[in-house]
Amino acid sequence: MSASGTGGAATHDAVRPDGDARALAAALAALGLPCNVEARAGLAVLSAGPASLPRFANAGARRALLALAATHGFTHLAVELADDRHFDAPAPRAAVHRD
């Protein structure tokens, strides 16, 4: 087996820095969409409660939100589907655990 280049050696991948969760949250609040923003490297997880889901249903609105997230350093944007039984806006969490 070749030990050259990217083949035989395990690539040591750099950790992508977190996007700016605070700035994105402020921008969303200014648009009338207050929510917690959790940064996991390039992924922003929005926690806004079940009642907010219709805000994301429109394709144009989603495109605008994705563009907004990109300006704050995020490549991915996801909305959390909270457990309806005991939804509670979560506090911002630390970066994702890595092995």
Binding site: M1, T11, A14, R16, R40, P50, H76, D99
Partner: protein
């Protein structure tokens, strides 16, 4: 016949000729769109004695895809051989670096090629197509190192042409979504384990049971599952009741939290997240 259909048919004739000139042929067979098409064309061109489709069974291979592979082989009378691979035993693979696929394919071909040659199949091929050539594909180097050929790529077959010809041949895989191995659901740097693979597989199976068709990925982010759906189905699942059912299904697979990706399915999504591009 349209120009596209004519071109695809011409390529298929060239493929049959390519295979005939190198028979007998062993195919690395997963039951995905590409290898299924390749196996059926080979069977038609070479007969049952001239081809064998070899399935590598491993923890990252979805059970549904194995079932599809067996169905296709049975329907089109393609001889099949199964062998077990154990890439998880390689810590370089299990660490899940961005060239993980190199170690996976090395494990596969290092087992498959000798088995094929021992049975008299001097030519070993895979289902890589021309559209794959621009992607981040560290597994391709492993194929080259083991002298595995990629006739679909060499003859310029696009995915669209493979689907078009598959439909003409009556293959049930013609409109099957792409189905990479389950390890592709784990971000680079998150160790690949049997437990994590099983978790994402259970989650995806539960979502299929809800009626989600087309592109679907459950991306693993530790306690959080990020669900990518086809963009044409995303809106439906942002309805409160549907979202609740979706979340419940994924939590049932063992995830504490569930999030729906607002862009929808993106091939190579985790490559983008890690800033990994094509070589």
């Amino acid at each position: 016949m349209t120009d596209a259909a004519t071109l695809a048919a011409e390529k298929e004739r060239a493929l049959a000729a390519w295979l005939a000139s190198r028979a007998p042929v062993a195919i690395g067979f997963s039951g995905g769109v590409d290898s299924a098409y390749l196996a059926v064309v080979a069977r038609r061109a070479l007969g049952a004695e001239g081809v064998i489709a070899i399935i590598g069974r491993r923890a990252s291979y979805p059970a549904e895809q194995w079932a599809t592979a067996r169905r296709v082989a049975e329907q089109f009378e393609v001889p099949v051989l199964e062998l077990d691979t154990d890439e998880l035993a390689d810590p370089r693979y299990a660490a899940n670096p961005s060239n993980r696929c190199y170690f996976c394919k090395t494990e596969l071909w290092s087992r498959l090629v000798p088995v094929a040659r021992a049975r008299g199949f001097g030519t070993v091929v895979d289902g890589t197509n021309a559209d794959d050539l621009g992607d981040h594909r560290p597994g391709a180097q492993a194929a080259r190192e083991h002298a595995v050929a990629s006739p679909l790529a060499d003859l310029g077959f696009t995915k669209a042409e493979i689907r078009l010809r598959s439909r003409e041949l009556g293959l049930p895989t013609w409109q099957q979504p792409s189905s990479p191995c389950l390890s592709s659901r784990l971000p680079y740097g998150t160790g690949v384990t049997v437990e994590r693979l099983g978790q994402v597989e259970r989650a995806e199976r539960a979502l299929r049971a809800l009626g989600i068709e087309g592109d679907l990925r459950v991306r693993y982010h530790g306690d959080l599952a990020r669900v990518e759906l086809g963009r044409d189905t995303l809106e439906r699942w942002l309805d409160a009741d549907n979202a609740s059912a979706l979340a419940q299904a994924v939590r049932g697979a063992g995830f504490a939290r569930v999030a729906l990706d607002l862009r929808g399915f993106r091939s190579g999504s985790l490559n983008v997240l890690h800033g990994v591009g094509a070589a």
